[in-house]
Amino acid sequence: MPLPFLLGRLWHGALLLFGVSILSFAMFELAPGDYLDEMRVNPQIPPETAEAFRKQYGLDRALVPRYVHWLGSTLRGDLGLSFAYNMPVSRILWRRVGNTLLLAGFSLALTWLLAVPLGVWSAARERGWIDRPVSAFASLLASLPDLLVALACLLFAVRTGFIEVSGSLPLAIAAMTMVSFPAVFRHVRTSLHEILRSPFIGHLRAHGIPARRILFGHALPAAANPLIGLFGLSLASMTSSTLIVEVVLNWPGLGPLLLEAILGRDVHVVLAAVMLSAILLLVGNLVADLLLYAADPRIRREAA
């Protein structure tokens, strides 16, 4: 792996993260009110206590010094304190991130394990007995928004009693897989379909090479490129697309934590969650670039 390519990508990513941090910090800070407002209207807490808390959390300082302070401590790995939980943000965050990555990882794997063979089969036997139902199902799922898919899964689970409902990993994985399946399936099917119609496949056929070898030895590698790009993209978007599913199906991941923190104006948790999801997105993009670099000689030449 060439170092300059990697370094350039990392530098770019760091710049983006810096921008994201400024944007989200400014946005959240400019919003009226803070966590201590509720404390202030609570008659049981004396105003001096609220003021003391305000000083302790550094909420009385101006925007820019606070940002610099936050950035410094974040770079040192200290994400600050959660007001609502009254414990370090990192402790809350790691468990939640673990849950989100668990959900995202399993559903990503399941999606690709299902979509690639089905897509290849559908493209190879167009309008066959597997292509028709799967394509129709994918079209149906593609037109349904993730919110409705998640609700439908919940409805199914409740009505059949088949799966335990609240906070169940299999249910969340099923919902996520259904949300991301159609895009991958269609991508595999159309790109392979196009390759199978191109002249070089015709030549191979004319040479009498068996259909199975043409499909797996020649057509599939040629179709791999856009698929690798898509894999990186779905890796990158997984964490943000899990949000709705997590909330609907009550899976304790990053999404519900962020929602709760926004409603409670828990600044450090919001910032950490947004930054973390941006990092996951950038890592996904980086992985996609590296995979493409490894797979496609043209990109290697371009980067060199």
């Binding site: 921008g19 037109s143 928004p145 409740v158 409902v165 943000s240 409603l263 919001v270 947004v274």
Partner: protein, 315 residues
């Protein structure tokens, strides 16, 4: 265009007209609580002879027939349809407070559809303006715009939306909140159309007729309005056909999460929110009817976008 795409277009247009006239189409006020009819299933309707009849129980509890009338006059003006009091027509049943689900759905359609439409248009206009300027003038402005676009695309948008929503107090005046939400959705989404438009502009400004016009001394404004901007229209149309449902969904998701316009304004998202309660899913099947309507609308959007994509020359 394919027949399915045309049918979808017509259905969507009809729905937009109905939603715009929600006050006339909905048989009841969406916030009115029919206390005697909590968790009422959809009213059974029969065709008897040439008349549509709603069945219901009268004050004494006996099963009674109430003919459904067109254009009945209520105390707040004419409605599209309704049954004579004390008969009721609940096409989609009622919720736990006795509010008519169909009326809430139609009013919710007004909120969700039009906020989606307006936000998508706003993002397209913002994006097209920035993309045009960046592509046409190039240089530092171009680099700056594209870096900013990358920044916005790198943000997980749902997280960004939620974070930005925190900008506004939760219980503000619905009208202000509606406009703020629109601005928010539009402002987050400018990056994608800006990139698309910039790409078109970069290739369009090197076309021979544009170079010729420039050679004849045409000013920049002439070049942009007569040669460059028209070239971006097919791309923008395709973008809009894909973006509008996304923005409708964005509004519905926000309301679903409790970050939308608040409980007093019906939106598709707040209608769906009641479905995340397990006892509702267990006992009241008609509560899923608004979701089914929502799904149908999305199917129409999808079909329309596909029809447009096939019908358009590739950009």
């Amino acid at each position: 265009m394919r027949i399915a795409a045309r049918a979808s277009l017509i259905a969507l247009l009809v729905l937009h007209v109905l939603a715009a006239m929600a006050g006339f189409v909905a048989p009841y006020d969406p916030t009115r609580q029919h206390r005697q009819h909590q968790w009422a299933p959809p009213t059974p309707l029969r065709i008897e002879g040439l008349r549509l009849v709603a069945y219901g129980r009268d004050d004494g509890g006996a099963l009674t027939r109430y003919p459904v009338k067109l254009f009945p006059r209520g105390h707040d003006g004419r409605r599209l349809f309704g049954a004579g009091e004390p008969g009721k027509v609940f096409l989609m049943g009622t919720d736990g407070l006795g509010r008519d689900q169909f009326s809430r759905w139609i009013y919710g359609a007004r909120t969700s559809l039009f906020s989606g439409l307006a936000a998508a248009l706003l993002s397209a206009i913002l994006g097209a303006g920035l993309g045009l300027a960046a592509g046409f003038y190039g240089g530092r402005a171009d680099r700056l715009t594209m870096r900013a676009a990358e920044l916005f695309l790198a943000l997980p948008w749902m997280y960004l939306l939620l974070a930005m929503r925190a900008f506004f107090p939760l219980n503000a005046d619905p009208r202000t909140l509606f406009l703020a939400l629109l601005a928010l959705l539009g402002a987050i989404g400018w990056a994608r159309p800006a990139r698309l438009v910039r790409g078109i502009v970069l290739s369009a400004k090197e076309r021979e007729f544009v170079l010729a016009a420039r050679g004849f001394g045409a000013p920049d404004s002439y070049l942009i309005w007569h040669h460059i901007a028209p070239a971006t229209i097919p791309t923008l149309a395709t973008y809009l056909s894909l973006a509008i449902p996304q923005y409708v969904l964005a509004e519905a998701s926000l309301s679903f999460l409790g970050l939308g316009l608040g409980g007093s304004v019906p939106s598709w998202g707040s209608l769906l929110a009641s479905l995340s309660q397990i006892e509702v899913l267990e006992s009241y099947w008609w509560m899923t009817l608004p979701a089914a309507g929502f799904a149908l609308v999305f199917g129409c959007y999808n079909e329309l976008a596909r029809g447009l994509r096939i019908g358009m020359p590739a950009p």
